[in-house]
């Protein structure tokens, strides 16, 4: 969603869902609203924006949340190279708690979904938040396995976690609730460990 930017601090995200999930989490955790969450319309535009955002005269802090997809290491290397090229000193490995680096008055942060450690995407992060003993979880899993065994699935293997979480959400009180709203409506457990790490990363970066 395109927003009217009003803060000098920015958080760049790949898409609309990421934006709404962050908004919902910030609301849930009372993260101070001190940064714009910018929907960059995809990973390519987001990557292109990074150096330009740091050239903007007002911008002092730029955070980046991207999906690892099926190549965490490559994605990290790419972003690491961009930040190094700008002037940041960036460690070789992405910290599990998310990266935060500073140079003079500028600050950069990187979080790679789902948890800076494994391949995946926003939907994998969200699936961590599904309550552990939820009785629907095994049924969603067996349903997906069943249609896959019959080759009825139209989603690709890459998007399995998307199919999984949206199926689970379809069986909640309000079927069709989008990801961000499902946090607000407390279908999901935002106290989960990875989620707390992400909130801590946001607070350290923008606080």
């Amino acid at each position: 969603m395109k927003i009217q930017e009003k803060f000098p601090k920015k958080l760049l995200v790949e898409g609309n869902d990421d934006q709404h999930v962050i908004w919902a989490l910030c609301q849930k955790y009372d993260v101070i609203e001190s940064f714009d969450v910018v929907d960059c319309n995809g990973i390519d535009d987001l990557i292109e924006q990074i150096p330009i955002r740091f050239k903007s005269s007002e911008t002092k802090t730029v955070g980046i949340i991207v999906d690892a997809d099926d190549a965490l290491q490559q994605r990290w290397e790419k972003i690491r190279n961009i930040l190094t090229g700008i002037h940041f000193e960036v460690p070789a490995d992405l910290p599990a708690d998310g990266l935060i680096v500073s140079h003079e008055i500028q600050k950069a942060g990187v979080w790679i979904m789902p948890n800076n450690r494994v391949d995946g995407m926003l939907e994998d992060f969200i699936s961590f938040l599904v309550p552990k003993d939820d009785p629907l979880t095994p049924i969603v899993e067996s349903t997906l396995s069943e249609i896959e065994s019959k080759e009825l699935n139209k989603y690709s293997e890459r998007h399995r976690s998307k199919a999984n979480i949206h199926t689970w959400l379809a069986w909640q009180e309000d079927p069709g609730t989008p990801l961000g709203l499902s946090i607000t409506k407390s279908y999901l457990n935002a106290d989960e460990e990875t989620c707390v790490k992400l909130i801590n990363w946001l607070n350290r970066l923008y606080g």
Binding site: K2, E5, C40, D45, E48, Q49, P51, I52, R53, K55, S56, S57, E58
Partner: protein
């Protein structure tokens, strides 16, 4: 053409280094970030510190430097007060560190330098008996020594092998000595709110009347008035001439002033541009008087003529429309002339630059990222 730029001690620009410049350079930044000083520094460099120009500049800054006869005794003080305004912090220093230096970044380049100097005046007789005045600069390392003779203060201007000591004990702007260093000026500077040279356009037009360059003027005016056929300057006397325009659908000629600010602005810009072949065009606040819809067309003409006449262009702006239309022309695949955006920022009194390539400008424009 300047491929790079190093400015030291010029007004707010204590030290600014740009490792590369393009043919068309757009400069943006907030107030008090040195945009105008940047253009002035280039003008001083290009004019080789021509004193007619420096006098004009001091006047536009509101510095008082006119020396009336009754003030002749204070001439040195008046001159120093006015000239020191060109130096960072209005400093009156005599060391090399205090000098204004403007030139390329390369070590082997010859920058233009301006600094105050102490000198001793000696009146001597040459062998033929003629009386001559000679001025001896005091060596820098000796400046703390006591000198029996009273020293005076002058301005030392150096450009390559050309060196000149200008005594400040008299009215320097009336003097002819300054034409010695200056070659033909190949710089045109369009300043904001500076109307003192209202006859300038008439003179610039005379320079190109009936040449091929006249057609560029018509082409430019057609951006705003497509029925433009001809333009000339008329007046009762040579000092007071105004531009008049002939449109294809009117039998009478019309005063250009009656047609709005935009077309007059375009006339001023293109007249200046066609008058500085192989030189520099400097425009302060591009957008003045120009609706955003005409800015892109004007940029096209500026890019075209800059390439054709080998003019290096420096333009300042505060306007998003100006940057956006500049970006569109710059990223047109058929555009061969190169350009870039430079933003100046005042970081605790130090002016720093940020440069944007055509590609970065395109991304910023498409994704709505503020570059000003």
């Amino acid at each position: 053409m300047l491929n790079s730029l190093y400015i030291k001690n010029y007004r707010i620009l204590k030290e600014l280094r740009l490792d590369s410049l393009d043919q068309v350079n757009l400069i943006t930044g907030k107030n008090n970030t040195g945009k105008s000083s940047f253009l002035e520094a280039i003008a001083i460099y290009a004019s080789k510190a021509n004193f007619n120009f420096i006098g004009d500049l001091l006047k536009s800054h509101g510095e008082s430097f006119r020396i009336e006869d009754e003030l002749a005794e204070q001439a040195e003080k008046i001159n120093i007060d006015a000239l020191s305004s060109l130096f960072s912090d209005r400093a009156l220093g005599f060391s090399q560190d205090d000098e204004i230096s403007i030139g390329e970044v390369k070590d082997d380049s010859t920058p233009l330098s301006i600094r105050f100097i102490k000198y001793v005046k000696k009146i001597e007789q040459d062998p033929s008996g003629e009386i001559i005045t000679r001025r001896f600069p005091l060596p820098l390392e000796n400046e703390t020594n006591d000198y029996a003779e009273e020293y005076k203060i002058g301005l030392h201007i150096a450009y390559g092998a050309n060196k000149q000591l200008i005594p400040l004990e008299r009215n320097i702007y009336r003097s002819r000595i300054f034409t010695r260093i200056a070659d033909t000026l190949n710089v045109e500077f369009i300043r904001t709110g500076y109307t003192d040279d209202k006859n300038n356009n008439a003179t610039l037009f005379d320079n190109i009347a009936l040449t091929d360059k006249e057609k560029y003027i018509i082409e430019g005016l057609k951006i705003i008035e497509p029925t433009t056929e001809k333009i000339t300057f008329i007046g009762k006397n040579s000092k007071d001439r105004i531009p008049v325009i002939k449109l294809s659908n009117h039998s009478n000629v019309l005063p250009l002033k009656s047609m709005g600010d935009g077309i007059n602005r375009i006339l001023t810009i293109i007249l200046a541009l066609v008058n500085c072949e192989n030189g520099f065009l400097l425009i302060d606040e591009f957008e003045n008087g120009l609706h955003y819809t005409v800015q892109k067309q004007l940029w096209k003409i500026i890019f075209h003529l800059a390439g054709r006449l080998n003019v290096q262009v420096f333009v300042t702006t505060h306007s998003e429309d100006c940057i956006s239309s500049f970006q569109e022309v710059l990223n047109d695949p058929s555009e061969k002339v190169k350009g870039k955006l430079i933003r100046l920022d005042n970081v605790n009194g130090v002016i720093k630059q940020t440069e944007f390539s055509p590609k970065e400008l395109k991304i910023a424009n498409e994704q709505d990222i503020e570059v000003r």
